[in-house]
């Protein structure tokens, strides 16, 4: 993990880290990010939601981007300004992002019309204020964003 440094308009980079693409490492990523942002003021349910979003984006990057090849890292950059917290999660996949594009419908899943899986993107979208998926021939990046202004109103 690197020391904080100035960043672009999104604010100051708090940390850059990488995790090997091995099953279970999404939780490690989640806990490291939570530790990095402990002074940002995110608490309670909003912190738990961000942790879940980080875990799900990392899980997707390891599984679909890097195909669980341990030598391919998932890179995570955490940055913050006065008004926004950003976590960028980058894998080494190519082509379109491999998020399951079908909106999960539990009734369809229970009737066997959809696979039981496919919750990752849906969870992320419900856990953060904004998200953006970008990519090129060699990488996919998912950026998770939380507004920091006004979050003190109930912590939700």
């Amino acid at each position: 993990m690197t020391a904080p440094r100035p960043s672009d308009s999104r604010g100051r980079v708090l940390a850059e880290l990488s995790v090997p693409s091995e099953p279970g490492n999404e939780r490690r990523a989640m806990e490291v990010v939570a530790d990095v942002i402990k002074d940002v003021g995110l608490e309670g349910q909003r912190l738990e939601r961000l942790k879940t979003a980080v875990a799900e984006a990392t899980l997707n990057a390891m599984e679909h981007g890097n195909h669980y090849r341990a030598e391919l890292p998932v890179l995570i950059e955490v940055s913050a300004s006065d008004t926004q917290l950003s976590v960028k999660i980058t894998d080494e996949g190519s082509g379109p992002s491999a998020f399951h594009s079908e909106t999960p419908d539990i009734e369809a899943k229970l009737e066997g019309m959809q696979t039981p899986r496919g919750w990752g993107l849906f969870l992320i979208k419900n856990m953060v204020d904004d998200m953006e998926v970008t990519g090129d021939e060699h990488h996919h990046t998912v950026e998770l964003m939380l507004h920091l202004d006004g979050q003190a109103e109930g912590g939700n």
Binding site: Q45, L59, P104, L110, W119
Partner: protein, 118 residues
């Protein structure tokens, strides 16, 4: 951080099969969860209670495993209940609509009572 593989124990409580779950519900949990559910089904209970008291992490693959258990329960017309979920995972059960099909109760006592009156 080492993965805490799921452990699942089955016991009977006033006619309800209770699955005491400890660890993480993720891709590693499928075998333990399926085996415990099969053991719980073996006595043909009307209701099965998933006790999440020892669970501190559920990911999207874990949600899929719970959906699969729910599908099994519905196929055999068995009621599925859950208790001792943290506030965060109660929210996730609501967002995914698992809570439309699984009765979510705060603790085991209230879950057993709920299973008994229905």
């Amino acid at each position: 951080m080492a993965v805490r593989h799921l452990e699942a124990e089955v016991r009977q409580e006033r006619g309800v099969a209770v699955l005491d779950l400890t660890g993480e519900i993720n891709g590693f949990a499928q075998e333990a969860l399926d085996a415990a559910y099969s053991e719980a089904e073996s006595n043909d209970p009307e209701a099965i209670l998933l006790n999440f008291e020892g669970v501190d992490y559920i990911n999207s693959t874990g949600i899929a495993l719970i959906v699969s258990l729910l599908a099994r329960a519905r196929a055999s017309k068995r009621r599925l209940l859950a208790c001792n979920l943290s506030e965060h995972y109660v929210e996730i059960f609501e967002i995914t609509r698992l809570s439309d099909f699984i009765s979510v109760l705060p603790d085991e006592e209230s879950a057993i009572a709920e299973a008994s009156v229905s």
